[in-house]
Symmetry: C3
Subunit: 344 residues, 3 copies
Amino acid sequence: MTYVRNTWYVAAWSHEIAVDQPLATRVLNEPIVMWRDSTGRLAALADRCLHRLAPLSLGRCQGETLRCRYHGWLYDHAGRLIEIPGQAQMPASGLQVRVYPVVERYGWVWVWIGEPARANAELIPPLVGIGHPDYEFDYGQLDYAAEARLITDNLLDLSHVSFLHTESFRMSEIWARARPKLTEQERGIRSERWVRNEGPMGELNATNRVDTYFRCDFFIPGVLLMAARAYPVGTAAALSDAQPPQFSSMEEGFTTQAVTPMTDRTARYFYMMGWPRGRVDQASRDATRVIYEKGFAEDQRMIEAQQRSIDASPAARFMSSSADQGVVLFNRLVEKLARQELAQ
Amino acid sequence: MTYVRNTWYVAAWSHEIAVDQPLATRVLNEPIVMWRDSTGRLAALADRCLHRLAPLSLGRCQGETLRCRYHGWLYDHAGRLIEIPGQAQMPASGLQVRVYPVVERYGWVWVWIGEPARANAELIPPLVGIGHPDYEFDYGQLDYAAEARLITDNLLDLSHVSFLHTESFRMSEIWARARPKLTEQERGIRSERWVRNEGPMGELNATNRVDTYFRCDFFIPGVLLMAARAYPVGTAAALSDAQPPQFSSMEEGFTTQAVTPMTDRTARYFYMMGWPRGRVDQASRDATRVIYEKGFAEDQRMIEAQQRSIDASPAARFMSSSADQGVVLFNRLVEKLARQELAQ
Amino acid sequence: MTYVRNTWYVAAWSHEIAVDQPLATRVLNEPIVMWRDSTGRLAALADRCLHRLAPLSLGRCQGETLRCRYHGWLYDHAGRLIEIPGQAQMPASGLQVRVYPVVERYGWVWVWIGEPARANAELIPPLVGIGHPDYEFDYGQLDYAAEARLITDNLLDLSHVSFLHTESFRMSEIWARARPKLTEQERGIRSERWVRNEGPMGELNATNRVDTYFRCDFFIPGVLLMAARAYPVGTAAALSDAQPPQFSSMEEGFTTQAVTPMTDRTARYFYMMGWPRGRVDQASRDATRVIYEKGFAEDQRMIEAQQRSIDASPAARFMSSSADQGVVLFNRLVEKLARQELAQ
C-alpha cells in the first residue's frame, strides 16, 4: 500500500524520551533514534552509525552529543559526525547521519519522514492532546502485527462497530446501517453523524435513551480526533441532523489517536481519551477506558487476522460498499498526495 | 512437489464442526472455513470475506447463514453474498465467495479442492472409519512442520519400520529386507506382505511366534487403510504367500489414516485405529494406541528433520532403492493425474 | 560477505563427540555430521542420507559404520554407502556422501570445507590450546544470531574496548586512541601494542599502574591467539615500544578463540582462556573468566543489534577509519584467497 512521506508521523510519546536515554523506533521501515540532550533538546536521527551501522540507540548521550557505544564515533544533534576516536583528521567534510525534522505537540513526538526541506510544523493536524490546559488525559498504545492502512481503514468505516464491538461499545446495528455525512478537507476528511434514540456507549438495549452526535476529524497520515455528545431525544430531529451549537467544547469526552506504520507488517497505535479537566471522576474515566481497551482488543484481533488472510491470498482484492465512502475518500487523498511527491 | 487438485482431501473431523462454530483450516495453501448451519448442513467456503478479506471463520452463524464479524456481510451456505448492512442494493449480481464441495464420510469432512464441477463423491476412497456399524475407533491427529508428500512417502515405504520404530513397533529387520507385493489400482496401490515366524507388533524377540499378513490400500491423495492378522506359523508357506481367505473382515484391528497438505511446509495427519465392535477390551486398545502414538512421534521427529535437511540443501536429490517401489508407483500416479488436470 | 573455503574451520570441541554419539553442526551453510566410531576415529560427513536426505546425525553408530535411522542405509567413515537393507545389488558403484577432511587439534575439531584434495593439516594455525602440556584452560562458546564476519571485525578492531566494554574490561580511551602495530602474515595478521601507565584489565582508574604489552595473532578463517603481559611502568619507553624479550612464554595468561560461520546469519564463537599449568589459583581464573564472559555478552548484544541494523538498511554501507586498518588488511586477505579459489 501507499503512504505519504512528506508528512508528520507520531513516533513516540514525549514523556518516553528522557534526557540521556535514546529511544529506537521505526517509521515506514526507517530505523530512527530519538534522543534528548542535556539541554532538553530533542533530535531524531537515522539509527545507524556511519562506521559499521551499529544502532545509535545503544549509544551514550554526552552533553549535547550522542556517542556510538561500539567504537565511539560522536554525533551532534544535527547528525553531524564530530569525532572519530584516535583519528585526528575526519575522512571527509560534511559527514552526517540523516536527521529527521522533529516536533513535540499534543504529548507526542512527530517525525517528518520525507524531504527535510519540506518539513512544515503547520502541517501537524489540529488535534487536542496532552498538554492542553482545559483537558486531562488517559492514554496507551498497541503494537499491531498488521500494516497501518488496515487500522486506518478500520477507523474510517465505523459500520464495523455493530458487528465487531459486541463485547465493548455494544451499539445496535444503527451504526452499520446509517451512513455518516462526510466532508473532504485539504489533508483529511470530517465524518459526522447523529444516532437517534439509542442507549449510551456500552449499554446496548438501555432504557435511558439519548440522541448522540458523533464527529471524527481524520487527518493525513492517520491521526484523528473523535468526539461525541449526548442530547435529549428529539434534538437530532429538531436540528435536522445538523451539528449542534458549541459542539467544539468537547465537554463530554473525546479521543485523539494516531496510527504509525513501522514496517510493512507492523504498526503502532497511539491513543488518548480526553476529559474536561477536573470535571469527570476517576471511576467514570476508568470505566470508559475499560470499554475502549476491550474494543481496541477486538479491533486488533480482527485486523491481525485480516492481515494474515491477505498474506495467505495475495491475489484476492478488496471490494467496497457504500459504508466505505470515508475509506475511499481518505485513501484517494493518500494516493493523490503520494503521486504529487513522486512528481516533485 | 506436485499434488492432485481434483480429489477429496480430509479437512477435519466431522465432530469438530459443531452447529454455529465455524472452523478454519488450510488445504493446499487455500484458507477454508467449514461451518454447520442451524439445520446441521455443512458448508466449506473460502475463508475470506469479499469486502476486506477478513476471515469468515471469525464470523457468526445465524440460522442458515454466516455473517462476517467485521462489517457484517452475510453469506449463505453456497457462499452467496446476501446482505451488505446499510446498503439496499447489491453492488453486482452473483457475488459469492468460493464454495468447496464437501462430503462427510468415515468421521471425516472431505473437501474437493479442484474444479467444483468435477467433484464426484464416488472418488472418495473405500475406507472403513468412524460410523461403520461393525467397528469402533480410537483416533487422533498430528500437525507436521513438513510437507505432506514426505509423510505419504514414509507410509509407502515400510522398510523404515525396522530402523526408525525401535521404541514403538519393535519389528526385526525382516520388514526392511522383505519386499511387499504391489498392485496398481486406478487411484492408488495395494501393498501386501507376509511376515513369517515373527513376534507380534511391539514385542521384538518374542517367543510367541506367528505368521502375519499385512495389507495396505493406499489412495490418492494420501489416505490409507492398513490391516494385519496373525496366523499360526506355517500359514504363509501353506498359502504360498497368497492373501488369506476372508481377510477383509479385519477382525484383529486395522488403521485408517489421511495426510492432508495444509501449506508448502505443513501437513495434518489424521489417524484412527479400528476394532471389531465390542470384541476388544479397552486395555488392549489403549496398549495398541500407546505403541502407535510412540511410532507416530518417531515418524514426526524424523520427517521434520528430513524437511529441514531438504530445505538446507536445495540442490540435493533423492535416490531410490528397490524398497521405494511403492513410493515410485504412487508418486508416478500423482504426477500422471496432475498432468491430466493441467491438460483439461 | 565472502569466506575462504579452502581452510580449516573449528566445527566443535573434541570432547563433544563421544564414541557412538553423532553430532550435527553447520559450517558455511553446509550441514555436517561428526561421529567417532568404536575405534575412536573421527569422521565428518555431509549430514544427509543419499536416499531421502534424512540427517545422518540422527543415525546409529555400529562399530566402524554409521547407519541412517530412517531406512537403514549404512555408511563407512569415508562416507561410502556400503549397504541398502534388502537390496542385494548396489544401484551404482562409488556411491558416497561427501566426506570432509577432519583434524583434532587444540581441543577442537577442525573441518576442511573446500576441495578435499587441497586439505593440508599444516594450514591449521599455530595456536596454543587444550592438550598443551604447559597450560590449562577454561573455555566456553556462544551462538550468535549474526554472521561470522561481524564478529571477526569486532576482534580485529579493539578500539571498541573503550566504549563497549565499560562493564567488563573497563579500559580507558587509550585503547581507542592508540593504533596497534600491524604485520601482515601469509595467512593472517599480527597486531601488537603497548599500553603505558594504565591499571590492569577490569580495574579502570586503578592506582597500581603498569605498562602492558598486548599481542594478537589473527589467522584465516577467523581464529586468534591473544596474550598480554604487564611490566613495570617505563618498560615500554625503555624498549621503544618493541616486543619484550621472552614474550612467547605467555606466562600471565592468554586467550585462544575461533569464530565459525554456520549460516548466513548465525555463527558459533569458541573461546578458551589459557593459564600456565598449576601456577594460577582457581579464584583468579574465575575472576578473569567472569570479566571475559561479561565482555563477550557486551559484544554479542552489540553485534546482533548491528546485524539487525544491517538487515533493516540493506543499501547502507560501512565506512572505515584508521582504527580499521586491521579489519581492512584481514578482509583484503580473505578476498584475495577467495578470488584465488575461484580462479583455480
